[in-house]
């Protein structure tokens, strides 16, 4: 092992964390509503499209909604021209 942290479970055999593991970490959870044919911009400090930020919209009505990661922010765009779109967005680091 070159460096890093290795953690074992109480049985002394199972490794709970190893030096090569890539963990996901929860950053924030946002809920709200985007109007028909509109975009909501949400500011997240440090966010970028470097591949270490993930988004997950769990709203049941996200059929016509899309997300896009930007610099220091992300957007929730509702392409439905008639109905607003609630969102429940999980932001995490990977």
């Amino acid at each position: 092992m070159a460096y890093g942290l290795r953690l074992w479970a109480a049985n002394g055999t199972d490794i709970r964390l190893d030096t090569t593991d890539r963990e996901i970490r929860f950053v924030a959870y946002y809920t709200g509503t985007t109007a028909a044919s509109a975009t909501t911009t949400i500011t997240v400090s440090g966010m970028s499209s470097d591949g270490t930020w993930g988004l997950n919209d769990t709203a049941y009505s996200n059929l016509y909604a899309s997300l896009a990661i930007g610099s220091g922010q992300f957007t929730h765009t509702n392409s439905d021209t008639f109905h607003s779109a609630p969102y429940s967005i999980q932001v995490f680091r990977i």
């Binding site: 890093g4 964390l17 890539r22 929860f26 993930g54 059929l63 909604a65 429940s88 680091r93």
Partner: protein, 226 residues
């Protein structure tokens, strides 16, 4: 970071810090898959679960090829896994509800290891939890109901779960002048080729004409809980 802890893996990715919350197993189990027109199998979300949980799954029997999509109840009471339209073979599905470390039940019998807390005293990490080890991640912008997304290939898919929550329904597209197909984003587990990928496919046929694609954004994530 002015003080605290920051642990990186050998590739430089941060594993633990005192800023963000690691994700751990809150509940797990096995249930049957469902299909449109067949017996609906629902698993209830624990009443004490926080609202920002993640749902992962994998086929219980790690052989063959299976496509599954997640369906959640409008009232948030539970979830099901559906086969692609036309597939009436019910399979056994292992599922995991994962939450932030801070939302894990109080551990009345801690042993030893490492606990990390944030400045606000919430727990960020505990080695007493089964945490999620990410194997691969990709991001897809869906513009076609049937487009094939990035494929994960692993040396072994033993005990590998896929993130299922997030974007699921993609839209409704016409089949003929009377019927349309409701498309959803499926995760395909192919144990013959050791691949996992997201793919849009029909989950139900409706006697409704017309329709359109919604599209959207999906974070694809596979890994192991340990």
């Amino acid at each position: 970071m002015s003080y605290g802890i920051s642990v990186q893996n050998t590739s430089g990715f941060i594993q633990i810090d005192a800023t963000y919350d690691n994700v751990a197993v809150y509940a797990s189990g096995t249930m049957n898959s469902s299909y449109t027109g067949g017996t609906l199998t629902k698993t209830a979300i624990p009443a004490s679960a926080p609202s920002d949980y993640l749902i992962f799954c994998k086929p219980n029997s790690e052989s063959g090829t299976h496509r599954l999509t997640l369906a959640t109840w409008l009232d948030g009471s539970g979830f099901s896994f559906f086969n692609q339209q036309g597939n009436t073979t019910v399979i056994s599905v292992d599922w995991v509800i994962a939450v932030r470390s801070r939302d894990m039940p109080t551990n009345s019998n801690p042993d030893f290891g490492l606990e990390v807390y944030k400045l606000n005293q919430e727990q960020a990490f505990s080695s007493n939890n089964q945490n999620f080890r990410c194997l691969q991640v990709s991001f897809d912008t869906i513009t076609s109901a049937s487009q094939s997304e990035a494929t994960f290939t692993a040396g072994s898919l033993a005990n590998v779960f896929s993130l299922m929550s997030g974007k699921t329904l993609l839209g409704r597209l016409p089949i003929n002048s009377s019927f349309s197909a409701l498309y959803s984003l499926f995760v395909e587990f192919d144990y013959s080729n050791n691949t996992i990928k997201s793919i849009g496919a029909p989950v139900a046929i409706q006697q409704l004409p017309g329709g359109s694609l919604g599209g959207g954004f999906k974070t694809n994530l596979i890994g192991i809980f340990r």
